[in-house]
Amino acid sequence: MHPFQYQRAESAEQAVAAVAPNPAATFIAGGTSHVDLMKEDVHRPALLVDVSALPLREISAFEGGLRIGAGVSNTAAAYHADVQRRYPAVSEALLAGASMQIRNMATMAGNPLQRTRCPYFRDPTQACNKRQPGSGCAAIGGYNHVHALFGASAACIATHPSDLAVALSALDARVQTLGPRGPRTIAFPELHRLPGDTPHLDTVLAHGELITSIDLLAFTGRSHYLKVRERASYAYALVSCAVALEMSGGKLQRVRVALGGVAHKPWRLPAVEAMLAEQPPSEKLFRAAAQAAFADARPLKHNAYKVPMGRDLLVRALLETSGLRPLQGPAGTAFAASVGGVAGQLAAPR
C-alpha cells in the first residue's frame, strides 16, 4: 500500500473541489473494491476524499420514478419496497452479487464504478493497459476464462463485473453527477466505455466528477435479472442478463436487453431489441433473438463456453420476464436471479 492522505468531505461541492485539481486524488465511499485494490498496490491514490458521510443516502419519488442517492447502500436499495416491486431486476442484480457484509458497505454509485475482475489487472507484476497504460495486455495471451466476447480491443479484453450496472443499463437509468463544470445527466448505457486504446478509462466521468444519484425512470413493465456463476453465492457473473419489457395485447411492446460478463460495459443488444418489438412472445422468437445476439461474439481461447451459456441465458431471461416460464424464485430476490439455485433444494420452487 502506498502512503496517502485522507479527508472527509462535508458537501458534494467540497468533495469535487478537493479531487478535481489533484490527479492523484480519488473519492472513496464504501471502499469494498477500492481498498482491496490499494492493498494490492493497484490503486495508488495520494489523497482519499471520503464521500460516505454526504447527504446522498435517500431513496425518493422522482418524476414518476425513483431517485436513489449515490450513497445508499446496496442492501438498502435492494430491499427498498418500491425498488423490489417496480424494478425487480435492480433488487435481483444487487442480491445476486457479493455477500451481505459487502452489500452493507457498498454504495449504489460505487457498485457500477468497481474495477474489472481481470486477474492480470490485480497483479502489479503483469502487463495491463488498464492499470498502467502502454504496458500491454497479459490477458490476451493468458488465461482469459472470464474475459470479453464483445467490444474488446487489442489493448484490453476485460469485462465489467457489476451486476447492478447490467440492470441499470437495461432500464435506461440516468446518472446525475456533479463535476468541476457543474451538474450533468448521463444515460446509464453511456456511462461506461469500451476499452478501445484507452482501457484505463472505465467510464465517461471526468476526473473529480461525482455521481450524486441514480434515477430510475417511470416504468410499468416487467424487469428481471439472471446470473450464472461458478458457485451458488458470492461469485461474479460468468454471464448475466437483464431484461426490461412492456407488453400490451399479448405482444411485446418495447424490450430492452443487456448482457453482463461479456464486455467492458453492460452489453445492450439494440438489434435484438428491435427484432423483439411488437412481436408476440414465443420461445422460437427468443431463440432466434439469442442466435442474433451472439452472431458477432468473438470468443478467446478460454471463454468460448460463454456463447452457448449466454444464448440460453438470454432465452431464459426473455421467457421468464415475459411470463412464458415462471421465475425460479420470488421476484426481486436472489432466488429469482441465481441460475441453478442453492444447494440442498432438489429443484427450484415452482
Partner: protein
Amino acid sequence: MPATGKPLDRVDGRLKVTGAARYTAEWDVPGLVYGAVVDSSIAHGTVQAIDVAAARNAPGVLAVLTHENAPRLQPLPDKVGETQFRGEGGITETRQPLQSAAIEYAGQPLAVVVADTYERARHAATLVRVTYAGQAPQLAMATASRKTLPETFLGNNKEKLQVTVGNPEAALAAAPVRLEAVYESAITHHNPLELLATIARWEKRDGADFLTLYDTTRALEVLQEVMATSLALPKESVHVICPFIGGAFGAKGWLYAPPLLTAMAARVVGRPVKIEWRRQDMFAVAGQRAATRQTLTLGATRDGRITALRHDTLTHSSQSSGFTEPCARVSRMLYAVPNMSFAHQLAHLHLPSPCPMRGPGETVGGWALECAIDELAAKLNLDPVELRLRNYAEKNPETGKPWSSKHLRECYARGRQLIGWDARNPQPRSMREGTQLIGYGMATTMYPAGRREAKARATLFADGRALVQSATHELGNGAYTVFRQISADALALPVERVRFELGDSSLPSAPTTGGSTTTATVGPAAQAAAQAVLEALKSLAGRDPASPLHGAAPEAIEAREGRLVLKSSPATGEEYGAILRRTKLPSLVATDGAKPGEEREKYSFYSFGAVFAQVRVDEASGTLRVARLCGVYDVGRLMNPKTAHSQIIGGMAMGLGATLMEATHYDARTGRAVVRNLADYHVPSMADTPDMQVEWLGIPDPHISELGARGIGEIGCVGTAAAITNAVFHATGRRLRSLPLTPDKLVNS
C-alpha cells in the same frame, strides 16, 4: 460415565468466537517490528540486480535482506524422524531462502523489507527494483524435460510408488472386459482462514543464541529441528510456540521459507520481527495439491470380478522438491484385485512446491479410481454398489494382511438406504425436474488409520485439578476438547477439572499433526501419563501413615471418581487432593508415552466409508448443485460425536469444493498464479453445501489402541468427489473426467 464418546462442546469454542484465542500473528511481543516480502515476478532465471536503495531510505525501514546480504543458512537435513526431506519422493522444498540469485518459481521470495510498522514495510517493499535474467520456464507436465520415477512416498519403504502385484499385463490381455480412462485434476490450494505468520525473537541465554518462534505450524518438533539445522543451533536453543492454528488442511507443516525468512530478518535487525503473509502469497509459499493426470486401466470378467488394475499417475513438483502426490493410495488396497500395478511419474516444473493437502493421494487418486469403477459398472450393466460388493477385499490385496477392523458392507447398506438409492431410476439421463437433470452417485471412501509414538505429562494438583500436556497441535479440529475428554477418563476425573495444553515444543514430544493420526497417537500417550501419575499417587498414599490406604499395595488401589480407593472396599479411600495436601505436595507429575507395537505388522489399519450424492444439473447454463450428500463411516470408536461430525462435514464440504469449483491456474507463459484472492478462487459458500447426513458405525478398532479410536481428519474429504462426479454421469449420461466440474465444462455446447 466416561467423558469420551460424549458430544462435548468445544472447550476452546468460546475463546475462538470471542477472539480471545491467541493466534500466531496476535502475540504481543515487546519491540516487535514488521517484515514484508518482495517476490519474483518470473518463474525461471536469476536476479541480475536488486536495487534496494529506495526501500532502504524509505521512512521507518530498518533493513532490507536479499540473497546478497542475508545470513547464510545450512542445508536442510536429509530426513527428520522417519520423513525423507530431500530428493525424489521427499516432502519438502530443499531450496533455502535468500541464499542465491536463482529463481525457480514465480512468487519465490527475493527480499524482506523490515520496518517499524507493517504499512511502512509493505510500502517500502514496493520500492525494491529487481532486474531479472529470465529463462523460459517449464510449466507443463507433458513437456517437462525433467521427469522422474520416485521410489517411495516420503522415504517410507512400506509405501513404494512403483509397484506391481501379480501379472497385470497378462491379466489385462486375458480380460473379457477392459476399460481405460484418463482423469485430470487441477491444482488446488489449502487456503486456511488464518494466513501463514511467524514472529521470531532472538536473545542470549547463558551467553548463547536462543530463538523463540511463534509460528503457524502443525509440526512443532520438525520445525524446531529444521530451524536448528538451518541456523546451526542446538535443537534446545529453539523454542516453538503455537497454541492455536486457524486451519491447515495439509499446509503449515512442511515448507519452511516463512519461518526462516523471519528468523533471518530478526537476527539482522536485532529485534523481534513478524512476517504475516498476504492471501496472494498463499498461492506461492504455502504449498498446494499438485495437478494430476491419471490413467486407470481395468480388466474384468463379464460377471464383474476385477482381474487387473493399473493406475498410472503423472503429477508435478517444483525444481527443488520431490513431493509426489501418491495417487494409488486407494487403488492399492480397496478391492480384491489379484493383478495390479501402480506408477507415479513426477515432472519437475517451475512452479511452487506442492505438499500434502487433505487426503493426499486419496482425494484425487480415489476420485479417479472410484469414477473408473463407476464406468466399469455401467459397462457391465451392474449396480455400482453391487460391483463393489463383488470385489470386496477381505484382506489387504497388496500385503495380504488382515484388516484390523472393516465393516464397509454395513456402510454401503446404510448409505443406500439414506439416499434412497434403490428408488432411483438407474438409467442415466432418466430423471428430470423442470429444466434440471437429477442424478445419484456413490463412491467408497477410506483413510489409513495411522498411529505414531507420542509422550505426555500429567500433573495432579492439590486442589483436585489436573493438567495434561503434549506438544501436539490444535488445527481447529477439536484437539483440546478430545484430549481433555481422554485425559479426564484416564484420570477418573470430571472433564471440568482437567485441562489439556499443547502447542509448545518444550512440552513432551508429539509428532506432526497430519495424516489423521493425532487422536490415535496422542490419546494413548495422555492415557499413559495419566496412569503414571495415578500410580505415583497410589504409592504416595500407600506409604502415608495418615492415609486410609496406608499399607495397601498399588495393585490393590484403583482410581474412581477423583478418589483412590481400595479395590476390595471402595468405600475406603480419599480424594487425590487430600493426599497431596497432607503430604504438603503442591502437585504430582509424571511423564510417559505410548507407541504402536507389533500389531502394526500383523494388521492392515484403515477406516472405511461410503458416500452417496444426489445432484441436479442445469445443462443449459452448466450449473451443478449438490442436492444431498450422505456419508456412512467406519472410523472406530468416536471420542466426541459433535467434533467428529464437524470434522467430517467439513471434509465433505472441502471435497465438494475440489469437485465443483476449486482450481488454481498458473499463467502458461509466466508461471504466476493468475487468481490470488478468495473472491475469485472459489471455495464452497453455504449456498453450495447441502445438509450433509453423516452417520458412523461406532465399532471400536480392537487393535489400534485401548481407545479403539482412529483419526477422522481426512476421510470426509475422500470419496465425495467421485460420488458427485458419478452422480453427474447418472444425471446427464456424460462422463466428465476433469476436476473441477465448472459450468464451462458442463454447459451444452
